[in-house]
Amino acid sequence: MKKLSKILVIVMVLSLVCCVLFACGNKEPENATINITIPDGAPTLAMAKLMKDFSYKDYDINYEIVSGTSEIGAKMTQGQTDISIVPTNMASILYANGLDIKLLSSNVFGLLYIMGNGDVNATSLSDMDGKTIYCIGQGGTPDFVLQYLLQENNINATIIYVASGTDVIPLLMTKKAEFAVLGEPAATMSVSKAGAKVLFDMQEEWEKLTQFNGYPQASTVVRSEIVETYPGFVKAFYEAMEENISYIENEENLEELTNTLKDNGSAVVFSSTAVIKKCNMRVEDCATAKASIVNYLSVLKDFNPATIGGELPDDAFYYNISK
């Protein structure tokens, strides 16, 4: 028995050494499975071209479109998904809760608009003083961006919260609501379905106050393990996301990308390229976007630190794609 256990130990040590040597080889694997999960809506646009034709070596790349962002955090924590585009404040919460992720880029720079019903005439934000504004996303970005704009412009308005854009569109139609914050594509839908009009571009108003072009509403996060093991993939992925922008903003591709998204399980339809452009999608790496991200998260933190997980993320949160 002693001899057997001796042999066993030697075999185990040898295999351990082999594994270490193999890992130290540090070469990016030839094969891998990468899972990408995206919440339905504007983030899916960021992946449209990639779903169609992105490939890297022999990698098996799976795209999953989910409704809402709740399950994404859980999936990432368990390693069931590797890359996702999430609200930037949610990325901060996940990081603060100990999830080992890196922010790769910011992709959506604000798609919120203040709409007025058909009868409303307002030319400046102060026209909303003393009025009631319906707002989506209580406790989140739409809520705090609106409050920030009102606060910094010294406007007193009552905010009534609704669960989603579809709840407020009927109110705009019946003129029960005067002002409402909606995101695209719901904003454009309210124009066609409820005769509403776009009064203010919240991104422009944000820029007037902060000098930043829009706010990084949604960003791409990648599990640290993926970044470390597959750096070449991550770089190619980033570049593909950049190419995707001109793809989705080209009218000729509208039909094709609508079909691609639908085939992958999306339930949100972007009716025109104009709507897509109003989503302010672009790809900014950490070096470019960091100042804007910090500014944005700080504004949110002032309203409720819990919205960003308590503290601003430290530098280890940002992964700089080396050019």
Binding site: G73, A74, T77, Q78, L94, G139, V162, A163, D167, N304
Partner: protein, 243 residues
């Protein structure tokens, strides 16, 4: 003696929770027992907690009583006027068959967020109460009824000595199961309608900042609320039956 068993099974439940939380070790998915209870403790110190709890309690009781009164009246009338029963039955069947989610989504479109939870509960709770009360009344032994009529027993005595004692047990059983169903549905409706000053909204906001332990803390409060209301009914039942 009656306390020992519940304490043991609750203790086991908490133990299982504690072990699972330790094994999974992800705050977002299974919060630790300690975190949840400290969140609960912290909530108890906040004004918003009592406002939300009060709001939900108020809505639960209001909708419960509306359904109750309506169900009692219609059950009594249906018992004495069969035509009414025949007319109501298909309507009640349809209302009972509507999926809860349809009711919630439709009422949010029709009513504003403060009132839609009330209508929703009415749709769900009323059919159950009506059917149960009606069955309760009609199941009073018809021979006893005949006998009372034959002996010219006064109407008032018939009601208090014959009908009520016979109906009481099933009546209170219905109330007991209806009240916890009521609380559950009110909270679900509050989540979707985002009713101001409600437990449902608090749960939704906790979810929004990915605070699962706060969500669980609110869930515990909801369980306790249901338990409390059920026991109030049991207490009333005991008092009434004695009398």
């Amino acid at each position: 003696m009656n306390i020992v068993y519940p304490i043991i099974s609750l203790g086991l439940l908490v133990l299982v929770w504690f072990l699972v939380a330790k094994a999974v070790d992800i705050q977002l998915i299974v919060p630790r027992v300690g975190d949840t209870f400290s969140k609960l403790w912290r909530l108890l110190g906040e004004n918003s907690f009592y406002l939300a709890l009060g709001g939900t309690l108020w809505r639960s009781l209001l909708s419960f009583f509306i359904a109750l009164v309506l169900a009692i009246l219609l059950a009594i009338i249906s018992n004495f006027i069969p035509v009414i029963y025949k007319l109501l039955t298909p309507i009640v069947t349809i209302i009972r068959a509507i999926p809860t989610m349809s009711v919630i989504l439709l009422t949010i479109i029709w009513l504003n967020s403060d009132y839609s939870p009330l209508l929703i509960t009415l749709f769900i709770i009323f059919p159950i109460m009506y059917s149960n009360f009606y069955t309760g009344i009609t199941s009073v032994d018809s021979e006893l009824i005949e006998m009372s009529k034959a002996y010219n027993v006064r109407k008032k005595d018939m009601i208090f000595s014959l009908y009520l004692p016979n109906i009481a047990p099933s009546f209170f059983d219905t109330l007991q199961s209806a009240i916890s169903l009521n609380v559950k549905i009110i909270i679900s409706a509050e989540v979707l309608a985002q009713t101001k000053l409600s437990m449902g909204l608090m749960m939704k906001l906790s979810k929004g900042i990915l605070d699962t332990s706060e969500l669980l803390a609110w869930t515990i409060v909801a369980i306790l609320l249901s338990y409390f209301l059920e026991n109030v009914i049991i207490l009333i039942k005991k008092l009434v039956i004695r009398w």
